[in-house]
Amino acid sequence: MSAISNPIAARRAPGPATLAWAFIERQTNLWKRYWAWELVWLVYGVVNTLAITFIAKEVEAVGIAGADETNDLILFLLLGTLVWAYLSAVLDDVSLVITWERWEGTIEHTLMAPIPRWVHLVGMAVFGVMHATVRTSLIFLIALPFFAVDFSEANWLTAAAVIAVGSVSIAGLGILAGVLPLLYPERGEQMSFMVQAAVLLVSGVYYSVEVLPGWLQVFSAVSPATYILEGIRGAIVDGDTVGESLGTLAVIGGFGVFLVPFSILAFSWAERWAKKTGKLKRQG
């Protein structure tokens, strides 16, 4: 490169973690400013969790199931709604990487910053995980007193390991969904929500995947959320240790190893295409 006196070009570039932190800090500032929306999503999350879990009480009330089966069903639904609250929050935050910038009109200024795209995407994904952890923990704490749930068998370490490894694969899926608004400025956001809805349908959030028609179970097998839910239920309901969950963890990890580089590659390709066709400028 030419010898020119530019303080930014001349200085030692900050590490990826420092650059990624800029996005985490920015999203945190935005989160604080949009606190009313955060409250709305928290209330929605709590109501959704309660509304779905109370179905188990109804099952007991009409005599379909006994007390023990009801408790199992409560735990099954409670874990399903909580894990989905977490996964959908991560998916939302990551897949909105472009949509946020379009809403605010900042897309061109952010994308012309001298920052590798993977650092940008990882920064957004880390914020998504932090944000989802806080929101889901609050939903869990608020919903818990409504049900007499027995966590005596739970292995929290395994659950944390499943969530940690699973977050990587879900972030990969989120980045992949985030490609859609780049390709389709007008309809991409809606298409991202459809991806989220499809994951909800096939992953066994409120029912086991075995009840799905065979052709839908094919999609269950390729959704990382299926294995995350399986791992969490194994850890909390059956008390599976990390050793016993290694198979599930390996599958979830495999999704992450494939999805993250693939989604970043797909994002870079889509960004290049948007720059070729002038779709970055379009506000949707």
């Binding site: 900050p14 932190w21 800029a22 500032n29 605010e104 061109e108 012309m112």
Partner: protein, 291 residues
């Protein structure tokens, strides 16, 4: 003198992509229904020397903003090359981004974040530390005539002029060696416009920055720019100093037998004579991202 920016035969088309309805057996594409691609940059070639303030003047939709987007690595040219200090904007986009920054007519900020929070974010992604940003921001804002306390307010509480000053501050915060100013004073009141123009002149002298300025304002172009290029219909139709361009028009008028004093020729006359149109004439094609 070193070349800061070199554009060679740059062409850009928009629209006219593949019509997916052709894949549907029951859909017969109607001839002429799909408009042909719009040719928004046509063999654009020019050079800007280091330290120069170079003006690019054209009507709406003439291709100014499209060209700025190509230079900013936000748009890929369909053919031709652009180099910024020897770095190709397509192949070495990362290196180019570290050397440039841009102010556009639309300030483009996170509206619900404060000015300080916005500047913190944009400084950080250019590699500045929070300490450096906290030190530089008040200095730049003061020189722009911006009240420091206002920087704590949300962007959507600031006036258009104040937002534009923050946009200028954002760009100069990162000390770019090539600054792309895309109609930076559009919509500003006369005082804010003067503040921004003064700041641009000062920074250009102090930091030896190269500036490419697009504007509708002929007076602004004449005051700030060493050389000016006129762009019309996506093509560069004339380049020179304001005096050279006026001389060229005077010669043309003389050749046509028009009696008019050389001193009476203003830049609007020059623009209309050399481009064959006035500043309002080229309108942006509907549905096309030309600018």
């Amino acid at each position: 003198m070193k070349t800061a920016l070199k554009a060679t035969n740059v062409n850009k088309y928009f629209g006219g992509g593949f019509d997916y309805r052709r894949l549907l057996a029951w859909c017969t594409p109607v001839k002429g229904e799909t408009p042909p691609p719009a040719h928004v940059l046509r063999d654009v070639s020019f050079e800007v020397e280091r330290g120069e303030v170079f003006g690019l003047i054209g009507a709406n939709g003439s291709g100014k903003s499209t060209l700025i987007r190509v230079l900013s690595t936000l748009l890929l040219p369909d053919s031709g090359t652009v180099e910024v200090f020897g770095n190709d904007v397509v192949r070495d986009a990362g290196a180019v981004r570290a050397l440039i920054n841009r102010v556009s007519a639309d300030p483009s900020f996170f509206r619900n974040m404060s000015a300080n929070e916005n500047l913190l974010f944009y400084g950080r992604v250019y590699g500045l530390t929070p300490e450096e940003i906290k030190q530089l921001v008040p200095e730049i804002l003061e020189r722009l005539g911006f009240e420091k306390d206002k920087a704590r307010e949300q962007m959507n509480h600031l006036s258009r002029g104040q937002q534009q000053k923050i946009a200028v501050a954002r760009s100069f915060l990162t000390s770019p060696v090539l600054m792309l100013l895309d109609e930076p004073t559009t919509g500003l009141d006369p005082r804010s416009r003067r503040d921004v123009q003064r700041f641009i002149r000062e920074v250009q002298k102090e930091h030896d920055a190269t500036i490419l300025l697009t504007t509708h304002d002929m007076e602004e172009a004449e005051i700030l720019c060493g050389r000016i290029a006129f762009i019309a219909g996506g093509r560069i139709v004339a380049i020179g100093t304001s005096e050279e361009l006026k001389d060229r028009v005077a010669e043309r008028w003389q050749a046509r037998g028009l009696e008019r004093e050389r001193l009476d020729i203003n830049m609007e006359d020059v623009f209309m004579e050399l481009t064959g149109r006035d500043l309002e004439e080229d309108e942006e094609p509907v549905g096309v991202a030309a600018g």
